[in-house]
Symmetry: C2
Subunit: 620 residues, 2 copies
């Protein structure tokens, strides 16, 4: 039972002992919890021991230190190993490890989350740690200009995920020599052998083809691991992948390199601990980083938002791009990320003004969001976007970004059938459902240019995932420049004491609702009109008042009927509030090609349809 | 103005003429439509001309011919080229091309869809054609044992998509020598130059590292294209990628190899047609395939579904796996696809019985769905699944599968907080929202083993995307074996003429609702209980009757509040039906690790919460 504190002077044998301690602690933690992934931890224990003792630079007392390295466990199920390492570094106690892991209210969750101050991002959905690590490394190299390194521990199974290859590609092209992927090739996935088993060459061929420096080692040879990490640290111009042959469950014969031993405690923990040489109490002083400071983020907070004249026809995507550019002038922490459609989303307007804070991610939406999450870890304020339809590509990254407690601004253009001729492959008709269902999200859908301009900078002040949906075509400017549109609000555009029906729209359908209100007036029907630009949170008070006043709602949305505007409206009437009669107009059929006007008509969400639905509800 | 019909005997010069004709027709079609992608068509025109004249085997009069090759335009925006090729093959008329392209009601949409009988799948969301082509080629090689070839035309920009690398990996490992990817390297994406420009080596290095045979050619050299396609056809043991250097807008100086010319008609179509040598009327007789027959799909339709005893505790995922196995015995067209979690989803039970119809796709969910769509094109009945949470990875593929009019069965296990200790990364809490918002989808969420067993074979009889959500933990068997559960139905489990409130659950929450009903009875409150196993379509009649009878609903769902069970319930009250008072219980907070029971309690969706909500609604 030794206590070692001068980490850099540890011998290889002592580091081997540390590896055994990490295994013992992983075995004990999973046994105490009754679940977990000790065998996936044991394969990587020597890799992590060497990293901790010799290469990581991290101040566990100051996780916010800008010079800290970043350690991301992309194979998040190896959390017992991560927590065992935290214990060895003195960051958590043995008691916490053995009594709270995977327990209610604890912070040592089954897969790591930023409830722990040393965890940058949640992992556990495989294939996300490397893309996010690429973002962190991009921040270090292109934005922060700080010498921290990013270490990502990957499993071999997860290399089947395309997202990992998006990451290899971006990191290779960007020459991220501050990034090291440590690949734990234990040859066994959850269900059985991986595709490539212990064929390290198969991985090396692929990864080096993407411009990486690759090293193949025995992951249980302390000296070899150390040399590889040193070489990774010295590499210039390219990221390094350390491809390590390991044995799952290493050190315990009952589970070592055996199928069917994934994701469960070892059969006899006591025997396993004995086999591993018993409990140790090594304590590592991880080397601290050099003093470092993040660049101060200045900006001109008074820079004026674009202003549009009432009655002009302007696309909300254009107003978005122009307001985003000003937001970047106001706040120098704003970074914009594009999925090779910046000319369409109008994000490229930002690039012209602030090229050093514009990151082109090409057509790789998972990496787009991964990069955004990664730079967000480093204190930058990302705005990432593409066509709204293609954000579905990054759904799992967005879901996990919420678990990571990321503050992330997402924009999606070309929403709905209103795009016209390009047809359904390009039309977002499920993005509101997707973004509303993300935990803690905000969903905004402006209808005019001045409203858009106000909402764009407000996104950055909002916690969590904030989504802005923009439209391709021009819409009339109906709000004066400078009018305010608080998130969570709405705008009542037509209202009277004897309104008989409420018409609710957002984006393109708001204008259809206004036209419908005029037509209804011709029929002697008084209609209230609500612009529901804040889809989540929704303005429950205004909607409830409208329900009390009019008793009848017609909602119209350029979206499939499920999960969008109508559902947001009805959410206001949870917890037993009396609900209005409601007719839900949405895109029920599969669109084809047609002009925008024809599309809105065919889908039954234009002024004609709203007028007819309202007349039917009112009964005249 | 020649007419050529003996395609195989065309000279290279004549094929060059055909390439010019395809360009002319693409230019004319886009000009007539006022939108479209002629320049992206012109780069690939010679590639398609050679394919059509010398290598494709296809009977345009019999698109259902099982021996037909498959031609997938992964770069779907080059639809003018595809339609020009159809015209050259005599499948469509010049009139249809020039008057209906991108027009309301036409079948020549902005991006190809299976409205056209020769289009296998919709494309337009980039990076999907190759994964689906891999599925088609898998069907040919492993299931149909037919000699058809699959040709996929890819853009260079779309190679940034990780999904494409999932496809390269699967095709390489499977040795799909019946698959050829033709990569149109025109160096210009939508926004500007691609990452690799004309560096064909960069593509070849990457693709060959994944086990493909690669060829680099000048894509405008007819002889070189022909030789490459011949070599691809003769390749054994590996798929071939023809990496072709081309010029975007080739043949028209005003647009050729120029930035800013993506996705719009050429500036002067008349001048462009003249520059291209004028209108031609070449007509190609594409070589027909040899006679071929698909294997007959037999099976034992009387094979008995598994039966579970009332009161036993069985996980729905287990019943799913057992029923799936029987479904495979009943129907020999059933193929099961796994994302390397078959031991958890229990799909591997099928593998033991029907190994020849089980496809392991490893942890690559986009390719999982891509393969499923591809084998579906060939008449197989796919069931594809993984943890429900990770289906979000394939959201865009599922969205596009609906545009493709695919009949696809999808299963997702480990739904909701009910999984317990693993934490939020593994919990599907947005899958119902995602799957409900897919056009034409069916969403099923059984609560017991016998119900699950009945629903599994019914999925295969259902058109469109059908999703089954299963749970990790055991739930009591409450239905007798053989009871019927029609899709679109529900089950009223407690009911009386003086019910004061209706409790609605599905899956794990249904059992909580039953417990709550018992407790409410102790308080003298009569509660109706509805098992809403068919979340979409939903049983509107039963819900409306319950609303009339009780006036008060409590919904409880192991899902985020948006887009799930409660929203499905409220959909029944669209079109002006009077709505009940409703309290919506769902997972509002971010879960951590805990036991399943603790999770349901913490989320406020257990019997305690349902009882309290119902008492509050009733007022005693």
């Amino acid at each position: 039972m030794n206590t070692v504190t001068q980490a850099p002077s540890l011998t290889d044998d002592q580091i081997g002992e540390l590896g055994q301690q990490l295994r013992v602690d992983a075995v004990r933690a999973a046994a105490a919890a009754g679940s977990g992934h000790p065998t996936s931890s044991m394969s990587a224990a020597d890799l992590v021991a060497v990293l901790l003792a010799r290469h990581l630079r991290y101040d566990f007392d100051h996780p916010e230190h800008p010079g800290n390295d970043h350690l991301i466990f992309s194979k998040g199920h190896a959390s017992p190993l991560l927590y065992a390492a935290y214990k060895a570094a003195g960051a958590i106690t043995e008691d916490e490890l053995l009594t709270t892991y995977r327990k209610l209210g604890g912070r040592l969750e089954g897969h790591p989350t930023p409830k722990l101050p040393w965890v940058d991002v949640a992992t556990g959905s495989l294939g996300q740690g490397l893309p996010i690590g690429v973002g962190v490394a991009m921040a270090g190299k292109r934005l922060d200009h700080l010498p921290y390194r990013t270490w990502v521990l990957c499993g071999d199974s997860e290399l089947a995920e395309g997202s990992v290859w998006e990451a290899f590609e971006q990191a290779g092209i960007e020459g991220l020599d501050n990034l090291t992927a440590i690949i734990d090739v234990n040859r066994l996935g959850q269900r059985g052998p991986t595709r490539h088993g212990w064929d390290l060459d198969a991985y090396a061929r692929r990864i080096s083809a993407f411009g990486w420096h690759t090293l193949q080692i025995d992951g249980h040879d302390i000296g070899a691991v150390d040399a590889a990490m040193a070489e990774a640290g010295a590499s210039r111009g390219a990221p390094t992948a350390i491809i390590a042959r390991t044995r799952k469950g290493k050190g315990v014969a009952a589970v070592e390199d055996r199928e069917g031993m994934h994701g469960k405690p070892v059969p006899d923990a006591g025997e396993a601990v004995r086999e591993l040489g018993g409990v140790r109490e090594l304590r590592i002083e991880v080397r601290h980083p050099e003093p470092a400071e993040r660049p101060a983020h200045g900006g001109d907070p008074k820079a004026a938002l674009p202003a549009y004249d009432l009655g002009d026809e302007v696309a909300t995507r254009t107003a978005f791009g122009e307001a985003l550019t000003v937001t970047g002038t106001r706040r120098e922490d704003v970074v914009v990320l594009d999925g090779e459609v910046g000319d369409s989303t109008k994000a490229e307007l930002f690039a012209k003004e602030h090229p050093e804070r514009y990151i082109e991610c090409y057509i790789a939406e998972q990496q787009l969001i991964g990069t955004a999450v990664g730079i967000g870890v480093c204190g930058w304020q990302p705005y990432a976007g593409t066509f709204a339809a293609f954000l579905t590509r990054a759904h799992d990254f967005l879901r996990m970004a919420a678990v990571s407690r990321s503050d992330l601004n997402v924009f999606g253009s070309h929403a709905g059938v209103g795009i016209g001729e390009d047809g359904p492959s390009q039309m977002a008709l499920e993005d509101l459902a997707m973004m509303r269902s993300i935990h803690g999200s905000t969903v905004l859908y402006p209808c005019d240019a001045n409203q858009t301009a106000q909402l764009v900078p407000a996104m950055a002040d909002r916690a969590g995932i904030t989504y802005l949906r923009t439209s391709r075509g021009n819409t009339p400017v109906i709000y004066a420049p400078g009018e305010e549109f608080p998130i969570g609000g709405s705008r009542v555009l037509r209202s009277g004491h004897d309104d008989e029906v409420t018409l609710i729209g957002a984006g393109v359908t708001l204008h259809e609702a206004l036209t419908a209100a005029d037509r209804l007036a011709d029929h002697g029907i008084r209609a209230r009109v609500i612009d529901l630009y804040s889809v989540k949170p929704v303005d429950a008070r205004t909607l409830r008042t409208a329900a009390e006043d009019t008793g009848r709602f017609v909602t119209a949305e350029d979206h499939h009927p499920e999960g969008g505007l109508a559902d947001a409206v009805l959410e206001s009437f949870g917890n037993g509030h009396p609900m209005p009669l409601l007719t839900r107009l949405a895109v029920h059929s599969m669109p084809g090609s047609a002009t925008p006007k024809e599309q809105l008509h065919a889908a039954g969400i234009d002024a004609d349809a709203i007028t007819a639905a309202a007349r039917k509800l009112v009964g005249r």
